[in-house]
């Protein structure tokens, strides 16, 4: 109050203002510290709330929630808060990413089901030096030629999954038909698998790009029927895959040819139902079966208890993604992106899969074993659809090599 009377005592206006500012900071300082102690550490979640991948979005967000629960809702003595914004297109994902960074002031961002969306937000992460944990995209270039210092990927690159499933599929024949979603993920899946097939002497009978969010596949199925392939390889996910399975069932093509995809979400098959679901797929994780680690089984139980159904693979991916971010914050005792990035580049996460898993420091890809699984002949459980055929790579010592060497990958971080 004294300062307000200042001018009368001959102090210039500028000095007064400067003094007032310092005074105010000093007075306010203790409150700022207390406020900060209670201020939440926010993790941004960018996952679809609508569109073909809405189910994956919900499951992923639920998985991240379990990770927060695992930490008792707190890290560095501050509450953890998940802020979930919609991932519905490359453009809106960019806008929501900026909103998370600028308005919500999040510490890190996780999510991204569509590779197209993730490729669009990666430059934003790099520019803002914001840790981006890409939990669900598969386009190879995300940890390949488009990689950057701030992006880490939990999900599998197409280049790896096509290798895992090809030996089993080629047993069914080498005349293949491709239907893929017409964006980064689907097109990359086609290119990767076609290379493997053609190199092995196989033929591509047909290749169709279907717009993301296609509801009716009957015209594609007519072409498919005409072509009579041994194997149908589809770069489709979400409701697109469900629609295709239902309509193949309608026309009686279920199990009439081998079917595979670059990756599979259980929920897409659950939605198609036991009569329509079939195929052999690379699978990042399964909530049951011989390869379920103790730690991951605990996650599955917690998820079932909280959300009433077992987690499908997207739930595990976002649970692991959130766990990785929170572990980094806890271990570095910091919310500084550079420190979090440095920690994640070196740390090995033990107990989540058969072997300890970690992000590689030169491309930020999570190197992990995966499963090759086939839909059961007779499905009796509402959720348990898969028999696990094998783990890839079969020889655990080949794990690192299966993801390609630094020279193969072509990832260069800008320093």
């Amino acid at each position: 109050m004294k300062l307000i009377n200042g001018p009368k005592s001959g102090i210039s206006r500028r000095t007064l203002l400067a003094g007032a500012a310092i005074g105010a900071t000093q007075i306010a300082a203790p409150f700022v510290i207390t406020a900060r102690a209670a201020e939440a550490i926010k993790i941004g979640v960018l996952l679809p709330k609508s569109g073909p991948y809405a189910v994956q979005g919900e499951t992923g967000k639920n998985g991240a929630q379990i990770a927060v629960d695992d930490f008792g809702g707190k890290v560095l003595d501050r509450p953890i808060q998940l802020v979930w914004l919609d991932e519905s297109s490359p453009q809106s994902s960019q806008q929501n990413m900026r909103k998370l960074i600028e308005e919500e002031k999040v510490t890190a961002i996780q999510g991204g089901v569509s590779s197209g969306d993730v490729l669009a937000i990666m430059p934003v992460a790099e520019q803002a030096k914001m840790l981006l944990m890409a939990t669900g995209p598969n386009a190879t270039e995300i940890t390949g030629k488009n990689c950057n210092k701030y992006t880490f990927r939990v999900d599998l690159p197409n280049k790896v999954t096509v290798q895992s499933v090809y030996p089993q599929l080629k047993e069914r024949g080498k005349k293949w038909y491709f239907i893929v979603a017409s964006y980064a993920w689907g097109i990359d899946a086609y290119n990767q698998m076609k290379d493997v097939l053609v190199k092995d002497g196989g033929t591509v009978l047909g290749y169709d790009q279907a717009p993301l969010g296609t509801t009716d596949f009957s015209s594609y199925i007519l072409k498919l029927r005409q072509a009579k392939p041994d194997v149908l390889y589809v770069g489709l996910g979400g409701t697109d895959l469900t629609n295709l399975l239902k309509q193949m069932h309608e026309i009686g093509l279920t199990r009439q040819m081998a079917l595979s995809a670059p990756i599979v979400n259980d929920s897409d098959l659950w939605a198609a139902g036991p009569d329509a679901a079939f195929g052999t797929y690379p699978k990042l994780w399964n909530y049951t079966g011989p390869h379920l680690s103790k730690r991951s089984a605990e996650f599955a139980d917690a998820y079932k208890k909280k959300f009433g159904a077992p987690p499908e693979v997207e739930g595990w991916q976002d649970w692991f993604g959130a766990t990785a971010i929170l572990t980094a914050i806890k271990e570095t005792n910091s919310t500084d992106s550079a420190k979090l990035v440095a920690f994640l580049e070196e740390h090995k996460f033990d107990g989540y899969k058969d072997a300890p898993i970690g992000f590689r420091n030169f491309d930020h890809q999570l190197v992990q074993p995966l499963l090759v699984a086939t839909v059961k002949e007779k499905i009796t459980d509402k959720y348990d659809y898969f028999n696990i055929d094998s783990e890839y790579p079969k020889d655990p010592s080949q794990l690192e090599a299966a993801y390609g060497s630094q020279a193969d990958i072509g990832c260069q971080f800008k320093s």
């Binding site: 809405a54 499951t59 169709d208 717009p211 594609y220 897409d268 036991p274």
Partner: protein
């Protein structure tokens, strides 16, 4: 190649009938009430979800009762939310239906969950019929026949009965019809119920073909919008022609240029709007001109 094209054209026509069925309820509501109903898609979704729930308790009767339930819900919504907006800026009605659409989709997600739900066609309709190059699944043939029955019944109702005449007259000159001592409010409620019930039927019939998820309304709302716009807002015959046109265009684009198969219906809409802004069979309507 000719055979493949013939088979695609027929497949497109069959798909077109499904589009017609989805669009027709919306066309009725616009034609009679002048309301551009953006909530049409959620009534479509509710048809599928009501059938899903009723199926467990009452079996096949669910297919009949679900659209009825949707129609009754539609009437309640019209009574409570739409009626106060008649005679005001048409934009208000449009916003209201948009709000209803967003709210109902969230409600579906809350009640039934975000995960997709399996829904099989009845087993006696499984399999397909082949006739030369033409292949149609029995289920789609069933949908086609049912759509024709519904269209004929609606046409006869609107043009051959006293109620139909009241509805049509009321849509053009509400004041005159009211002066004749007819309670138009009740008529409007009934029309809204009819339109939403038809959306419900479309939802039930599409459920075995397409994903049953809370956002399934998206699969219905855009084709319905495009079909109604191309056909001419409020035109019955226009909706039929344009539904078939869209179906065939989509099927042929999948044969030759699949990546463009979603865009093709919008391209068609743009072309039609440029040449005939009123739509193919749209009549001039003084209320909106």
């Amino acid at each position: 190649m000719t055979e493949l094209i013939i088979s695609q054209v027929v497949n497109g026509l069959v798909l077109g009938f499904l589009y017609v069925l989805i669009a027709i309820g919306r066309s009725i509501i616009f034609g009679m009430l002048g309301v551009v109903n953006f909530a049409h898609g959620v009534f479509f979704a509710l048809g599928a979800y009501f059938a899903l729930t009723l199926q467990d308790s009452i079996g096949p009767w669910a297919i009949v009762l679900a659209p009825l339930g949707v129609g009754i819900l539609g009437m309640l919504i019209e009574f409570a939310l739409m009626r106060p907006l008649y005679g005001k800026d048409p934009l208000l009605g449009l916003f209201m239906t948009f709000g209803i659409a967003l709210f109902t989709e969230e409600l579906i997600r809350t009640i039934w969950g975000a995960a997709g739900r399996p829904f099989n066609p009845p087993s006696f309709l499984s399999g397909f019929i082949i006739w030369g190059p033409i292949l149609v699944t029995k289920y789609r043939l069933f949908v086609l026949l049912l759509t024709i029955v519904i269209l004929v019944a609606l046409w006869l109702f609107l043009h051959g009965t006293r109620y139909g005449r009241i509805i049509r007259a009321g849509s053009r000159d509400p004041e005159m019809v009211s002066m004749l001592g007819i309670n138009l409010k009740r008529v409007f409620t009934a029309v809204f119920g009819l339109g939403t019930a038809v959306a419900g039927i479309a939802g039930v019939l599409a459920a075995p073909l397409w994903s049953v998820v809370p956002s399934m309304s998206e699969a219905a709302i855009m084709p319905a919008f495009v079909v109604v716009t191309i056909g001419g807002l409020g035109s019955f015959g226009g909706a039929v022609i344009s539904g078939l046109l869209v179906g065939v265009s989509v099927a042929l684009s999948i044969q030759f240029w699949p990546a463009a198969s979603t865009a093709v219906m919008y391209a068609l809409m743009i072309v039609v709007l440029l040449i005939r802004p009123r739509g193919l069979l749209g009549e001039s309507w003084e209320r909106f001109e």
